[in-house]
Structure formats: C-alpha cells, structure tokens
C-alpha cells in the first residue's frame, strides 16, 4: 500500500524562541529550522512499514515556503521515495493544511496517512483529525503502536491514564505520539541518494484549495516571567518553609 507522510518545517526543538518586539509573532529570521519532531516519528514509522514489506511507496509532502524542501529532503534521506511541496508563503492553519492534504490524497490514493500529533510551533494538535474528518476516514491519534491486521489497522493510543486500542478500517489516518518509535539518523549515502529523488512543486491554487486563515493574530506576547526564588540549605529547612511560609503542606 502507498503511504503519505506530511512533514512540517518548524523552529528547531532546541531554539529558545523570542517574541518580536512589535508583538506580531516570534522571531524566525536566522533561526535554525528543522522537521517537526513528531513528523520524524511519522516518517520513521512509514519507513519501518516499508521495510516490513507492508508499504510499497512513501510520499512525503510539506505545505509551506520553498525552504520546506529541506524537510522533504530529510524525509527522503530517511527512506521516503518522493516528495511533494505545496508552496505557500503565508500562514497555513491546520484546516487549510488538511484541505491541501485532502486534495493530495485524492490525487495519490494512499491507504494510510501518518502525521505527527502536534507541531511544536503552533501547538494546535489538529491537522490529522481534521484531515480524517474531511476524508470521512477513521483516525488513530496519539499512536504508540501501529499493527496492520487483515486489511485493517490496529492502533494503540496514548490516552489519559493509560492506553487504548482501536481497530481502524482502511484507508485511515494515524497521528504519532512519542513512544511509537525512535527516528533514525539519515546516513551519508542515503542523504546523497535523497538528492536524486524527485520533488514535485504545486501551489494551493493548483489544488483548488482556499487557504485564507480563519484566525487573525491580534498580538503575541511573552508570558509573565517567573522569578527565581531562594535556595534552601537542607531538607529540614525546605519542609519548614513549605509548612510555615508557603503553607502548602
């Protein structure tokens, strides 16, 4: 079966973001960008399904600026077969991305789309669920285990208090949680090979998708700063302070 794996270009996990002085957003100029970490887990899962002989082809797709090609190349170096860049320079909200992906799904005909559960920039946690709704497909969100089972898919999900297992009819949507796998590093030969893999570029308008944002950002500000408190010298002093000063125990 064919797999589709969307990947998002985001500010790298290790960057401490700064709010712009004019309150319009966060500083992204000259900041290291990477593939969203949950999307790396999605690519890894797809590659493992291909290595097991379950998947036949993996298509990596990214919606974003031209530079998002870098993240598609990373997916190709990890083992995806080809890429599609849906080039757009403005804001793309999860609903718009879901509409873009729906158009790609209709063109490519994958049986399974694996997405990261959440992008670490807007922290929306929405695109997979929205794509599932638009396609009328089942969804296995926050997956910690994915097992193909007789033309269906068994997905173990991270839920509050533990785990839940659901069986999904195919075609289906899966979103990845932390423990699904540990993504591989692309080897140098695979990075070289990835340079020769094809990336097709389209625009949202080519797909007939209106990406006008529904949310306008009125302002972006820094959260109130927490002041560092005091150091205590001993456990006895700590407990005394918690009892008599903070009065929380």
């Amino acid at each position: 079966m064919k797999l589709l794996v969307p990947v998002k270009r985001v500010v790298d996990y290790n960057v401490k973001v700064r709010v712009k002085a004019d309150g319009t957003g966060v500083e992204t100029a000259n900041v290291k960008m990477s593939m969203n970490p949950f999307d790396e887990i999605a690519v890894e899962e797809a590659v493992r399904l291909k290595e097991k002989g379950i998947a036949t082809e993996i298509v990596a797709v990214s919606a974003g600026p031209a530079a998002a090609q870098e993240q598609i190349r990373t997916a190709l170096a990890m083992g995806a077969d080809r890429g599609i860049l849906v080039e757009h320079d403005g804001v793309l909200e999860p609903l718009a991305v879901a509409k873009i992906l729906k158009a790609i799904v209709e063109k490519e005909g994958p049986q399974l789309v694996i997405l990261g559960k959440q992008a670490i920039d807007d922290d929306m946690n929405a695109t997979g669920q929205m794509l599932a709704a638009l396609l009328g497909w089942p969804q296995g969100t926050f997956a910690s285990r994915v097992e193909p089972a007789d033309g269906a898919l068994k997905v173990t999900r991270e839920v509050d208090g533990g785990l839940e297992t659901v069986q999904l009819r195919l075609p289906a949507i899966v979103t990845t949680d932390l423990r699904l796998n540990e993504p591989r590093y692309a080897s140098l030969p695979n990075i070289m090979k990835a340079r020769k893999k094809p990336i097709e570029t389209v625009k949202p308008a080519d797909l007939g998708v209106d990406v006008t944002p529904r949310l306008s950002v009125l302002k972006v500000e820094e959260p109130p700063k927490r002041q560092a408190g005091k150091k205590v010298a001993s456990v006895q002093e700590l407990v005394e302070k918690l009892r008599n000063e903070a009065k929380v125990i």
Binding site: M130, V166, E222
Partner: protein, 309 residues
C-alpha cells in the same frame, strides 16, 4: 445561543478538567453539557453549578467515545450552539478538531484565556509566547487548558437531563480494549500536589522513592519527557509541552533539569520546589525553593521529615 461542553467522566463523576472547561464556557453564554456514557455520569454532570442542561447519550455507539461518532454528534448538535468546547484532554484533543473540520471551522486549541466571544488567548511555542487570536468563523470549536481556569464546584446545581440524539454508526473504527492504570493517587491534572521525577532518577525502580513522598503528600506522580524516553515512567505521566499541563498548588521537581518543554507543562504551578544536584540547572530559575542536593539522599530525608509534625 448556548455553549456546549463535551464532558470527560469516569463513569460516575465528571473529571476536574471538564469543570474547568465549564468555567471557561460560562464566560461565553448559557452552558449545556454533553455526557456520553452511563446515566450516573449524566446525574453527576447535572449537579455542576451553572449548567443549564445536560444532554445525555447512552447509545452503544457512544460507549467508548470514539472520535468518529462523537464528532458526528457534535456536528449534528452544532446549529443550536455558538461555541463547542471540551477540555484539552486526550479525549477532547481527539474529537474537537474532527468536529471542527466537519463544520468547516478552524479549531482553537488549548485556550488559556477568554477575551470575548470571538477572541481567545492560547499558548504557542511550548508556552514561550501567548497569542491572542480572533476567529472569523461563524461558530467556535475550542479546547480549554484546564490549568488556566479554576474549576466550578462538583455540587450545587440541578440541571435537567435530556436525551442526546443518536447518530448513524459510521462503522469506521472499533474499540478493541484499554489498559487504564488503576491508582489510588489523584489524577495528575487535578492533583493539589505533584511530585515529578526526571532522568536523574536513573531507573523505573528508583521512581519508588518519589512515590513514597507522593503518598505522604497525597500527591500525583509526574515525569519529565527524558524520564519517559528512558522508560522510567509511563507516557501518561509526562508533564510538558506534548504531555500534561499541570498547575498544582505545589510542584516538586526531583532530578529534573528544566528543559523549556518541561517548564511549559508546570510553570503555572503556585509553588515550585526543585531538588537537583546541579546548581546550574535551569529548573532553579523558576523554583520558589531550590535544594541543591543528591536526590538519592534528599528524597528519603524528605520522606522522613514529612512524618515529623
């Protein structure tokens, strides 16, 4: 128009994050609660103060609150409501974006503030920035960060209970089973005290050290992502950007360095205690009380000290 809140419950009681979502919903209009599951849960929901009506669905199709039928039900009920809310719990985050897409609206995830009927505050970039966003959609679909809203009490109201409509089974997914950890401890997102362990705990076995302290304090147990990654603690205990967001009265971080992704999940706690042997650890920059010490010595001492009155 009224506001609909999708409730999380354990079969008999409404979970605290849902009571926080009700508090957020009260800023927007008359609150109706949607409860899917046993009648006892609907009865508990009817007692929440400030709830005008409970819609109760006990059809088999809703029994495991699978996203596909629940989102379809929300879309069916949507014409009567200006806003559809749920706590930003695993269940809320699973269902609400799906319902939003069915209604062709952009979900507004994890709000920490209500400015007006169209305008909300939500943390982005692991809480390193707060965005104020205004929705142009005719209807708003929202998940609520429970830690940002004081929950309404569990008792005091008496709302009428009505039957929710039954949607057609889309037949897309099937519930196979669940492994929910049984614990005497309070739920992580509702606990008054949370004791969390990090990578420095060294092993799953060593987590017992903080469990004993937690038991003395009636606390929930949490963990950093590093501790979860290392296999010392299960993922549902993860506190941070991609795990649980908590704001207890007392948060004790043991052997946690304080990566921004962890701070995102606990920095709104009222009192923060950090125990770490590295005095340069960033956790100390947010801690009200910091103790530079070897946790394997300090934690048993803490356990003993808590016994003294």
């Amino acid at each position: 128009m009224a506001v609909l809140v999708l409730a999380d419950h354990d079969g008999s009681a409404v979970m605290q994050p849902t009571r926080s979502a009700v508090a957020a919903a009260q800023k927007l209009g008359e609150v109706h609660l949607l409860v899917l599951g046993p009648a006892a849960a609907a009865q508990a929901a009817a007692k929440l103060p400030g709830v005008a009506k409970v819609l109760h669905g006990d059809a088999a199709i809703y029994a495991n609150r699978l996203a596909e039928p629940v989102a379809a039900l929300l879309a069916r009920l949507a014409p009567d409501y200006s806003h559809l809310l749920a706590p930003a719990s695993a269940a809320g985050k699973n269902v609400m974006p799906r319902a939003a897409a069915l209604l062709d609206v952009q979900v507004i995830s994890d709000i920490s503030g209500v400015v007006d009927a169209d305008t909300f505050i939500r943390p982005i970039y692991a809480g390193n920035a707060l965005a104020t966003v205004k929705s142009s959609d005719p209807k708003k679909v929202i998940t609520v960060r429970a830690a940002s809203f004081d929950p309404v009490p569990a008792e005091g109201g008496s709302a009428p209970v009505e039957a929710a409509p039954v949607v057609e089974d889309p037949g897309l997914s099937r519930f196979v089973g669940a492994e929910i950890a049984k614990s005497e401890r309070p739920e992580l997102t509702a606990a008054r005290v949370v004791v969390s362990g990090g990578r420095a705990m060294g092993s799953a076995e060593n987590f017992k050290l903080i469990e004993r302290v937690a038991d003395k304090l009636g606390a929930a147990i949490g963990a950093s992502r590093a501790a979860v990654d290392a296999g010392y603690a299960p993922n549902d205990l993860q506190v941070g950007q991609t795990g649980k967001i908590v704001a207890p009265e007392l948060y004790i971080a043991v052997g946690i360095s304080g990566a921004i992704q962890h701070l995102a999940g606990m920095k709104d706690s009222k009192v923060i205690v950090a125990i770490n042997k590295d005095e340069e650890a960033p956790i100390f920059q947010v801690a009200d009380y910091g103790l530079v010490a070897d946790l394997f010595k300090a934690v048993p001492e803490l356990e003993a000290e808590l016994d003294k009155k």
